[in-house]
């Protein structure tokens, strides 16, 4: 049995259904990210786990225990909010101590635990500061310590980094991940930033309009996107519209060029339109590859170590990167070139 189980979770606000048939099982100690564009329902799922919203259908269980009858303050969950939400009337020490005081922890134990938490986020020297006397990054670290101090069974983070500037965002996300590993706490991290999700997660749930489109490890999500949405949202995949020629032979037509795929075309019929995806680093002009597509060069830019070329294959724009070499001639716009790649790199994408 997984630690956190979301079973067929639904949420409607009035007539609008914002979370649909959401299923997910998270293991103890796992770091899972919910990734998706703004408005796709990430926060709503998180708020249902926290008990701020009541599901319209489905169940949430933590450690085998159904949560539907528990109020927020009975769930023993830690949460970090996008806007920090530190208590402005309390200094750092009192903020971190809040959950312990509410739980009636003895004074000495509170003191020790708060010290331990402040050491974890390396802010022992700021114990007397008030929230308004600190930078955003410091405030968010205090918020993390505050959430972790009462030893919650689950940690929820709702876009905790999106209010911070780029440099702090990267260092803090590494810090969050390192603290999470150290404590072994099961964590759900919500973000709309694909790089953020790819870099720190054990697994990622890509959400689209209230549904989980794909659940997988970062490399599965990036290398084998299951749907067109995942492919376009994660990374910079090229999309090609194609038509099935012969499902048994794995042949498809892009414009008037027929190529053979490695992937099987189960359940497809001849003449059916499909979408293919190609990662930008998979194609090249000179390299080896068992498959070739002709295209017209749209543009070519020199980026130092790589050259990024954009060509049009039967009306589909395709970008690809090739490593720079001194003897390389850059393709000129208007020129017709052969794009080579391995047929295994061409993915069939669901809609």
């Amino acid at each position: 049995m997984s630690f956190l189980v979301l079973d067929n979770l639904q949420k409607c606000f009035g007539a609008v259904q914002v979370v649909k048939n959401f299923n997910m099982a998270i293991e103890k100690g796992e770091f899972v990210s919910f990734l998706g564009p703004s408005g796709c329902g990430k926060t709503t799922v998180l708020r249902m786990i926290a008990g701020f919203e009541t599901p319209s259908g489905g169940t949430i269980s933590i450690d085998g225990r159904d949560q539907s009858r528990l109020k927020t303050n009975q769930r023993n969950i830690g949460m970090v909010f996008q806007a920090y939400a530190l208590f402005p009337n309390m200094n750092v020490f009192d903020n971190v101590a809040f959950g312990l005081k509410v739980a009636g922890t003895p004074r000495a134990a509170i003191e020790a635990r708060v010290k331990e938490m402040l050491a974890l986020i390396r802010l022992e020297h700021l114990a007397d500061r008030y929230p308004y006397q600190m930078s955003g990054g410091q405030q968010q670290r205090v918020a993390l310590a505050r959430a972790l101090a009462p030893k919650p069974q689950l940690l929820l983070l709702d876009e905790p980094l999106s209010a911070l500037d780029a440099k702090i965002r990267i260092s803090l996300r590494e810090e969050i991940r390192q603290i999470q590993r150290q404590l072994g706490i099961t964590t759900v991290f919500v973000t709309h930033d694909q790089e953020e999700a790819l870099s720190i997660s054990d697994r990622i749930v890509v959400m689209n309009a209230g549904r989980a489109d794909q659940i997988g490890t970062p490399s599965e999500i990036y290398n084998r996107p299951a749907t067109r949405f995942v492919a376009s949202f994660v990374g910079t995949l090229n999309m090609l519209d194609a038509t099935v020629v012969d499902p048994a032979e794995h042949t498809v037509r892009v414009g008037n060029q027929v190529i053979t795929l490695k992937e099987t075309l189960v359940g497809k019929t001849a003449g059916e339109p499909i979408v293919l995806a190609l990662r930008p680093e998979a194609g090249s002009l000179q390299g080896s590859g068992d498959t070739t597509l002709k295209g017209d060069v749209l543009s070519s830019s020199f980026l130092g170590s790589v050259i990024r070329t954009k060509i049009s294959v039967a009306g589909n724009p395709v970008s690809f990167d090739t490593f720079n070499a001194p003897d390389l001639t850059m393709p000129r716009p208007g020129e017709t070139v052969d794009l080579r790649f391995s047929s295994g790199d061409l993915l069939v994408v669901r809609d």
Partner: protein
């Protein structure tokens, strides 16, 4: 800033100060004239020596403090709940809290006497404690418009919903949230509501007179009708003490840890 705007600014300020202080200084000057031909504090001596003065003033101060406490206990949770759970109800609640400005105190007090007289189901006017309670609640009603507005404005300066959720997920219940998170953050607002409540209660006449309680307002009126110089001395004293109280509250709030300066 041009010279002209500066001059106009100063002129307005000086006019305002004169407008405010000239009558006060006239009042003060007259209160010193109890003895013919020379300035003296005779009138003040008379006032301070009057046991009635001490009794009524103390009574009103205590009533003001009780009113402030009742006001806080009613207004802070209400304003909090309306903001958090029933934002659609805000205009109605606001309208309701403004009614005391429209309904004269005399109407309120006659309503009270009809509802809570000795023959009613809740004979509050039958005992001194009951009448005092009634008076305190009456004062609370009079102060409601100011208290509610002040607290509601104070709540606007914090993110009530998120702070409430942050406290809930840390295990806090409603009482803890109100006492430890919401109230401390609206202390400056509550205090400004408290100042006004204090000022209203100290001078209030109608409720106290009709409920026949020994408050400062009716005493002031009685002296004013019967003496020449003492009422003026009394006014100056009342002013001074009220201001001193307000300054004290300010001072306490400035140095209390509960209300750190905000950026």
């Amino acid at each position: 800033m041009s010279v002209w705007t500066r001059i106009v600014g100063w002129a307005v300020l000086i006019f305002g100060l004169l407008y405010f202080f000239l009558p006060l200084s006239g009042l003060f000057e007259f209160s010193l004239k109890a003895r013919r031909g020379v300035y003296s504090f005779d009138a003040y001596r008379e006032v301070f020596a009057d046991p009635q003065f001490q009794a009524t003033f103390t009574y009103s101060v205590v009533m003001a403090l009780v009113t402030i406490v009742i006001g806080i206990l009613i207004v802070v949770p209400t304003a909090f709940w309306v903001r958090l759970k029933m934002p659609w109800a805000r205009p109605y609640v606001e309208f309701l809290t403004l009614l005391p400005l429209v309904i004269p105190a005399i109407v309120v007090v006659f309503g009270y006497i009809r509802l809570y007289n000795t023959a009613s189901w809740l004979p509050l006017t039958g005992s001194i404690f009951g009448t005092n309670t009634l008076l305190a609640f009456g004062y609370t009603i009079l102060a409601l418009p100011y208290m509610y507005r002040a607290v509601d404005t104070g709540l606007r300066t914090i993110d009530v919903a998120t702070l409430t959720e942050a406290a809930q997920i840390l295990g806090a219940g409603w009482f803890t949230i109100l006492r430890r998170v919401i109230l401390p953050n609206v202390v400056p607002a509550v205090l400004s509501g408290a100042f006004l409540t204090f000022a209203i209660v100290i001078g209030e006449f109608t409720l106290a007179a009709l409920l026949d309680r020994p408050a400062f307002g009716p005493y002031l009126q009685r002296i004013g009708a019967n003496k020449a110089y003492e009422p003026f001395a009394l006014s100056v004293i009342a002013f001074t003490i009220t201001w001193a109280c307000l300054a004290l509250i300010q001072f306490v709030s400035r140095f209390s840890k509960a209300a750190p300066a905000r950026h």
